[in-house]
């Protein structure tokens, strides 16, 4: 009887501890590494079913994983740099909306099938300004691996990707050069038109 009570107490304690842990997790959110690995797993799953899903299916399946793991509002603000000061609130919202659709569409278009690829975690490090860089690489059968470094920043209680550096090429820096150049040379409407055109092209292929 005593043993039974002790057993019950332990079970209760474990349950209580587990509850606290779950609570702590939802309170503090996932770690930077967990955010990256969850996203990579979801991406590989979509690639595995890529052909059956088709572009529209991949877009739908990836929308939540991409928007939950990336801070797209912040990225959209960074890529227009100081030009953002010249944009109205409505234009900024339009940019975030177009940029979000473009980001998901790029993933849906470029990660369309699976031939044994897998992501491998290498290491993580903190940056001077409180960010975290998760180093990983994509293993591609019969090809050179591609290094993927994810830069994350804390947003509220969770970590969000703000940049991906593939084999040393920073997506954020690349986009910032493109977007600011187009804004300076051709203006806001041309930028949005170009983004929409790319999304259309992705959906047709």
């Amino acid at each position: 009887m005593v043993f039974k009570n002790i057993k019950l107490a332990v079970v209760f304690m474990l349950c209580a501890f587990a509850t606290v842990n779950v609570f702590a997790e939802s309170e503090t959110g996932a770690t930077a590494r967990q955010v990256v690995e969850k996203f990579q797993t979801e991406l590989i799953n979509v690639m595995k079913n890529g052909k059956q899903l088709g572009y529209a299916g991949r877009y739908e399946k990836l929308y939540v994983p991409v928007t939950n793991s990336h801070d797209l509002t912040k990225i959209a603000r960074i890529v227009v740099g100081k030009e953002s000061e010249k944009l109205t609130e409505a234009q900024q919202q339009k940019l975030v909306d177009a940029f979000t659709r473009f980001s998901v569409a790029s993933y849906a278009h470029n990660f369309k099938d699976y031939s044994g690829e897998s992501f491998v975690f290498d290491s993580e490090e903190q940056t001077a300004r409180g960010g975290v860089v998760v180093h990983s690489h994509l293993v591609i059968p019969d090809d050179k691996p591609v290094k993927f470094d994810y830069m994350l920043k804390e947003k509220g209680n969770s970590w969000r990707i703000i940049n991906i550096i593939a084999n040393g090429v920073s997506d954020l820096a690349l986009k910032r050069s493109e977007y600011t150049t187009i804004l300076q040379r051709e203006g806001f409407d041309a930028l949005i038109a170009k983004i929409n055109e790319k999304i259309d092209n992705y959906s047709k292929q």
Binding site: G131, E186, L191
Partner: protein, 272 residues
């Protein structure tokens, strides 16, 4: 005699390229109209010759669309995949000689030993380089060239340049390419093999060119930025923290602009 003939022919080719370069430069500079009603914009520090480079980019793109791509497509259509892979492996193996030289010049002696082993293995067991045996035994090819060696020796990169027919480069990249060409055995063989080499190079670039075409909002800027970042990453063997520092700069730029906006808003609110 052959050597004399080759020298003479190379001099003629160089003269032809020089003439084409001058003719193109003059013609393109003469073009006053562009499709875009351009607004004045800040000059990129790495690309002070942007106006000229953009015209050269358009020229190269046109040459590619009308000449290189159709020939490359025909090559891919008539050549079975295993043959294309074999041809790629063959030329890639020859390039390893250049890699080994630059390994040594950069004092990467262990790496030079690995690359020499890979070259010996592919040349013998790999049937003259057509089979990449090295990869199967875990010897991945390293990527070294004279431009990277010059970077290691402290030669500054210089401005970004788009060269006619040859594409993206920098001031440092020009002597680098000349030395790379001199160290590649393909430069000393007959024209048919050089032509296959060019076709193979174009066929291999297909994926990257298609990606740029699909993803880039401004293909010129996309190519420039990815080229410069890629070369920088190679020169530093991926050990640079520049990318992260850059990200932090980007972030702080935005943060400061947001803060200044907030401050302005506060200021306005106070004045009201």
């Amino acid at each position: 005699m052959n050597k004399l003939y080759t020298c003479h022919r190379n001099a003629k080719i160089k003269q032809l390229f020089l003439n084409l370069f001058i003719a193109t430069a003059v013609t393109l500079n003469g073009c006053a109209t562009t499709k875009i009603a351009e607004q004045p914009h800040r000059v990129n520090k790495a690309d002070p010759y942007e106006n000229f480079n953009r015209k050269m980019y358009v020229f190269n793109d046109t040459v590619d669309d009308y000449v290189a791509q159709p020939i490359s497509d025909a090559y891919k259509w008539v050549t079975p995949q295993f043959m294309q892979t074999g041809v790629f492996n063959f030329f890639n193996n020859l390039k390893t000689i250049n890699v080994i030289i630059n390994d040594v010049l950069q004092a990467k002696f262990k790496q030079s030993g690995e690359d020499a082993g890979r070259f010996a293995l592919n040349t013998t067991l790999g049937l003259g380089g057509f089979l990449d045996v090295g990869r199967n035994v875990g010897l991945e090819q390293n990527d070294e060239d004279f431009e990277q060696t010059l970077a290691v020796w402290g030669v500054p990169q210089g401005s970004y340049l788009v060269l006619p027919f040859l594409g993206p480069s920098t001031w440092r990249g020009i002597p680098g390419s000349v030395l790379d060409t001199a160290a590649n055995p393909v430069s000393y063989v007959g024209m048919p093999i050089q032509l296959v080499y060019l076709l193979n190079s174009r066929a291999n670039a297909e994926g990257a060119l298609k990606f740029i075409d699909e993803a880039a909002l401004d293909p010129y800027v996309f190519t420039r930025e990815s080229f410069l970042q890629w070369r920088n990453n190679l020169a530093t063997d991926g050990k640079t923290e520049a990318s992260f520092e850059l990200d932090m700069d980007l972030d702080s730029d935005v943060d400061s602009s947001v803060k200044s906006k907030d401050l302005n808003a506060d200021g306005k609110a106070e004045s009201k």
